[in-house]
Symmetry: C2
Amino acid sequence: MANKEPEIITNKDQMRKWSRAMRSKGKTIGLVPTMGYLHEGHLSLIKEAHKHTNLVVVSIYVNPGQFSPTEDLSTYPSDLLGDISKLMAVPGGVDVVFNPQNLYDYGNDTNGENCGGGNGEREKSGDGVVSCVEERGLGHETWVRVERLEKNMCGKSRPVFFRGVATVVSKLFNIVDPDVAVFGKKDYQQWRIIQRMVRDLDFPIEVIGSEIVRDNDGLAMSSRNVYLSPEEREKALSINKSLLSAKSAAEKGLVDCRVLRDTVIQSTTEAGGRIDYAEIVEQESLEAVNEIRNPVVFCVAAWFGKVRLIDNMEINI
Amino acid sequence: MANKEPEIITNKDQMRKWSRAMRSKGKTIGLVPTMGYLHEGHLSLIKEAHKHTNLVVVSIYVNPGQFSPTEDLSTYPSDLLGDISKLMAVPGGVDVVFNPQNLYDYGNDTNGENCGGGNGEREKSGDGVVSCVEERGLGHETWVRVERLEKNMCGKSRPVFFRGVATVVSKLFNIVDPDVAVFGKKDYQQWRIIQRMVRDLDFPIEVIGSEIVRDNDGLAMSSRNVYLSPEEREKALSINKSLLSAKSAAEKGLVDCRVLRDTVIQSTTEAGGRIDYAEIVEQESLEAVNEIRNPVVFCVAAWFGKVRLIDNMEINI
């Protein structure tokens, strides 16, 4: 089913102008921030947004601020035309695709993107964190940090990641001015960090977490799945399977987190994955627990070949 | 001359509602953030705001997030009724005084203010920075940092200060949603940090720097001046006097910053002050220069008795 064609906006000021015009007509705006290369998971976020607001903006922007110089910024997959046709097929479509060129270009000599181009000397922040937009002179230097939530799990192996996410989402919030923003629970820690940031900085925005979408075989949808060989994909199913077993065991009374974690680590490792972390944490504070007494979420990150995947499962007992 | 009485709003949601209502009527809003105990310097900011917007909101909030536990949060002067009568005397008055109780109270057990009360264990952030609102559990943990500009000058002796200022100003921007915000150039580094933050996070707000207001004797207006004894006040005049001499010397061709700085340090020290810093820096990057070749600002902080004062002078050659 072909739907309405979205308006493509690439300029910050025009995006803001559109939002102000819609707002003055009494419309509410939902924002779904993405890095493009859309899959069913993203489309489910858009369907969720439609439940809450009159209009839906999807941003497509691969944010250099959340990649470290050693990560896969330059090879991150993209397919704008494919994305737009997928968006047109979503019931209700989307009203705007916000697709800026460079959100860190402020019209100085330094243009705000250091990875891939190989130019520019990068400066480290106080604690040695460096992303693809650190610069000297008058370049970007403001970062939003959710200091405790950003530390564990994905924050350990990707020290620039959540700082970059919180910062670019702040920028998108200030440009698009949405009433509601929808994030996927697949990126559980990211969702909780944005929720906390919105509370702590008093953004007038409701943050909604939308359920994980899985392929028929159980693999959580991710733009990075495209890099898995068929064999690696088969191996990667071990994460979801072992998380399901852990959930079922917990519901039957096995609440010792060490045992549960060891089982998931062992299954994933035996399947050929390399575990980055497997943590059972409280759903809001993301603090690790030893025994499941309240609702928790079991979060896993693991490498299959050169692909790092994350998945998680809420256990509500 | 008694003017219109401002509406006093203490609640975030009500503040936001007011702004939305005014905005829907096509009104523009100016914000003057203050910590109260208003003097002529603050009032000049309000006059400046009136030049740019239809409506003016003054926030009065002593922000615990910018004080370290050893600083003067609990003794910071306040006089709300006095402030309101001063605001009524400003030509055009002000439309709203936003006077929240606690901007870090999110309805958890921990209420977001640790200094003065003596309760609560504070957590340090990654680089050991601690303010009066660091907490465990579900307390405030999101901080906005302008990483280079916050480092030198006042940032050296007050490591939590600019992080707290940038964060509370972000909160105020999100609550009040102004078109224009006015800051005093007396707090030069603060003004530049907010300007940079607004650019880097894409706040749709114009930040205006308003000129320093001085008493007849030349002392820059500050809420902390009230703590100076008459003798200390006399000594404190040395800052402005020596800055004026430095400016005049620079304009006559003395552009060696070491000489200029030494002169100011010597004069202030001889007068009985204890220099915290005396820096000649570029006006936008705030990077120290050795020779004055472009517009700079000469920034000084010094203690007189128990009072720390700051002052500065732009030298536009």
